[in-house]
Symmetry: C2
């Protein structure tokens, strides 16, 4: 139904053409990804990347890649509007810190498991108990890291 | 020394003015962040954001925020050049997956610690042993999540 609206030209321009005050052609590169009822999506990418750059970037991609490209550009543009200094890179930095913290916590928990296994086995009197503890610890680590 | 070069105008334009083939004014907004010997930095942000948008974004920031803003824009632009479909958002998605995996591994390791503590205490005959195990487990979790 939207397609037939666009065919009629100015009757129902996409959000991009509306903002750029131009006729929305039948083969408009923006129309499939920037519907008229979501004007904020194009407003963000226009502000951050510029309409001409978004156009160029989309033209350089195969059609089946364009929807994902638009989604990632909208995400990136919104991040830059929210945080004009760091944009998306602020999120990357914060996720990286979270990973560092989780890796530390995981190493501590794994060390605790190994320590408890060693203590358990050192109280048992079976021969080769320490070798078994090391084997079990190695097995545990390989299970965790899958 | 670079400043005096720029004062002479066209003698040593910054990378941005060189690419845009314009005179590099003494108060050029790009010059402090896009030195002539790193032309790729401006080439990337120009391709992805457009010179005019970069100019506007820098003008809207306080001077002490501009260096970080340029760094994050260069990072973002390079990511988009390398991966025109997902750009920076590809990195965010991959970090998020890494976090999910680490959280699963951590939960398994913490469960293993709790399980071992319970088993250890169930073999002991001291009164209130199970309560102590639960207390220790809770303490452990609060230590890990700090």
């Amino acid at each position: 139904m939207k397609e037939s609206g666009r065919k009629a030209g100015a009757v129902s321009p996409c959000a991009a053409c509306k903002l750029l005050r131009r006729r929305c052609a039948q083969d408009c590169v923006f129309a499939p990804y920037f519907p008229a009822d979501e004007p904020h999506k194009f407003a963000s990418v226009h502000k951050v990347f510029g309409a001409s750059n978004v156009n160029k970037m989309l033209q350089e991609l195969a059609e089946h890649q364009r929807r994902d490209a638009v989604s990632s550009m909208v995400y990136e543009a919104n991040a830059r509007v929210r945080d004009p200094v760091y944009g998306c890179v602020g999120a990357i930095s914060s996720l990286q810190k979270q990973i560092d913290s989780l890796q530390t916590q995981l190493a501590l928990a794994q060390a605790e498991v190994v320590h408890m296994r060693m203590r358990q086995l050192s109280t048992s009197s079976s021969p080769g108990a320490m070798d078994m503890a090391v084997d079990q610890a190695a097995m545990g680590e390989s299970l965790w890291s899958c």
